[in-house]
């Protein structure tokens, strides 16, 4: 269970949200929706710990996650619209660099399996500079597979499906249901509420802001 209590986040002079409360259950999938600029990405970056909190706490099972930041970030996979892929490296080199950066053993079989899980095994030696936006996104999504080998409880994904075609969307859904079966928790910021078929919760940032005004 992830408890977000009284979150207030400020960017520059603008308060993005104030006194935001919610509970995210373990083993569930939460879709964050809201208008452009409503603070979806900021909320995700706050949960990961990038954007500093003005007020409030984020607790994972009664413990403040930022008290042991190392444990927290190691327990999650964060995927932004900026994928973190170096254009000078190939798909598999990027995945390898990411996996060792996470402190995980990166043997070639696991990496190949990960690429296969998003249908990227054919493109393992393709340079990122030569790949399309959709392939880049899939190369980044291949990281999610590694959480079935190493211990990860949270996926925090920002617009993961934007550039995906139908076949890769199916593969992505398979990854999601496999992770949910492992009692993993998924938080996704998206406009497209059809990306999951399983039970999901919706966190509507626009609604929250309306309530604050009333």
């Amino acid at each position: 269970m992830l408890y977000l209590e009284g979150l207030t986040v400020q960017r520059g002079n603008k308060i993005v949200f104030s006194n935001f409360n919610t509970i995210i259950k373990s083993g569930s999938i939460t879709l964050i929706k809201g208008k452009n600029g409503s603070g979806k990405s900021t909320l995700l970056r706050t949960i990961v710990g990038f954007t500093p909190l003005e007020k409030g706490t984020i607790k994972n099972d009664k413990k403040n996650v930022f008290n042991n930041n190392e444990e927290w970030v190691n327990n999650l996979i964060f995927l932004d619209t900026k994928t973190g892929l170096s254009k000078d490296l190939t798909v598999i080199e990027n995945l390898n660099a990411w996996s060792t950066m996470k402190g995980w053993s990166s043997n070639i079989e696991n990496l190949t399996m990960a690429l296969k899980s998003v249908g990227m095994d054919k493109y393992a030696d393709l340079y990122i500079s030569q790949s399309s936006e959709g392939l880049k996104k899939r190369a980044a999504l291949a990281r999610l597979y590694l959480s079935f080998i190493n211990k990860v409880d949270f996926w925090i994904l920002d617009e993961p499906t934007n550039e995906l075609d139908k076949t890769s969307l199916v593969l992505f859904k398979q990854l999601i249901s496999k992770f949910l079966k492992q009692n993993g928790t998924i938080i996704i910021a998206t406009h497209d509420l059809t990306i999951v078929e399983d039970q999901f919760n919706i966190l509507d940032l626009d609604d929250f802001k309306k309530q604050r005004v009333l």
Binding site: F50, I77, A97, W98, T100
Partner: protein, 230 residues
């Protein structure tokens, strides 16, 4: 606890490997540094005119100033590339502290960009008519000082992340920090020229390098955290 630290060193080494691999794919940065350095070395004698003795007076300083000026354009990209493609966000979710990764960045920059300059510095010294007895000391002093230069450069590069017009800001911010390195670095060879012991200057240079080795990863990591928190 031990296993955590061994994984830190693995991550440290893996990150240096990644940077070297990335840079080996596009050698343009390295070529531009060495090219700029050669241009500075060539222009100085042309500007000084035909009197040979003048050259011997300035040769030492020209190499050091050339080194500092030549690396400025590449410093700007040292962290900016990784910031723009989102890699800095990803390494902030690494179990290794950001400070360790920043240190690996400085080391890999030193290995990739500055080692070639150190290796070619004897050639530059000969082009500038430096005494042969000075050349080993030049290599030693540049080796010691250039690590400090890359550490300062890393902090500067972290400072301009997300800033508009960072490329103009960067030299103004970091060249003043590099002046002590320049003074003691040049001092090593000036001492050799007048047959004095160069060790006083060399030890001060090493001391400065060690100071920057300790503080620069912390400053850079702090600045990167601010940049990705915006």
């Amino acid at each position: 606890m031990n296993s955590i630290h061994s994984s830190w060193s693995n991550i440290f080494i893996a990150h240096i490997k990644r940077d070297i691999l990335t840079n080996s794919r596009s050698l343009l940065d390295l070529i531009s540094i060495v090219g700029l350095m050669i241009l500075i070395i060539i222009l100085f004698p042309l500007g000084l005119g035909p009197i040979k003795e003048k050259l011997n007076v300035v040769s030492n300083a020209v190499i050091w100033v050339g080194l500092i000026l030549a690396i400025i354009p590449s410093l700007e990209k040292l962290l900016l590339k990784d910031f723009e493609n989102g890699w800095l966000d990803q390494i902030a979710t690494s179990p290794a502290p950001l400070e360790i990764i920043m240190l690996s960045k400085a080391i890999s920059y030193w290995l990739i960009m500055l080692i070639p300059l150190i290796l070619t510095s004897p050639i530059f010294a000969i082009l500038l008519d430096m005494d042969l007895k000075n050349i080993p000391w030049l290599v030693i002093s540049i080796s010691a000082g250039s690590l400090a230069i890359s550490l300062i450069g890393l902090s500067g590069s972290a400072l301009i992340l997300g800033a508009r017009r960072g490329n103009i800001l960067l030299p103004i911010l970091i060249i003043p920090l590099m002046t002590p390195i320049l003074i003691f670095g040049v001092g090593v060879n000036e001492a050799v020229k007048i047959n004095e012991s160069p060790f006083g200057n060399l030890f001060l240079l090493l001391a400065l390098t060690l100071i920057y080795l300790v503080i620069s990863p912390f400053i850079s990591a702090l600045l990167v955290r601010i940049a990705i928190g915006r």
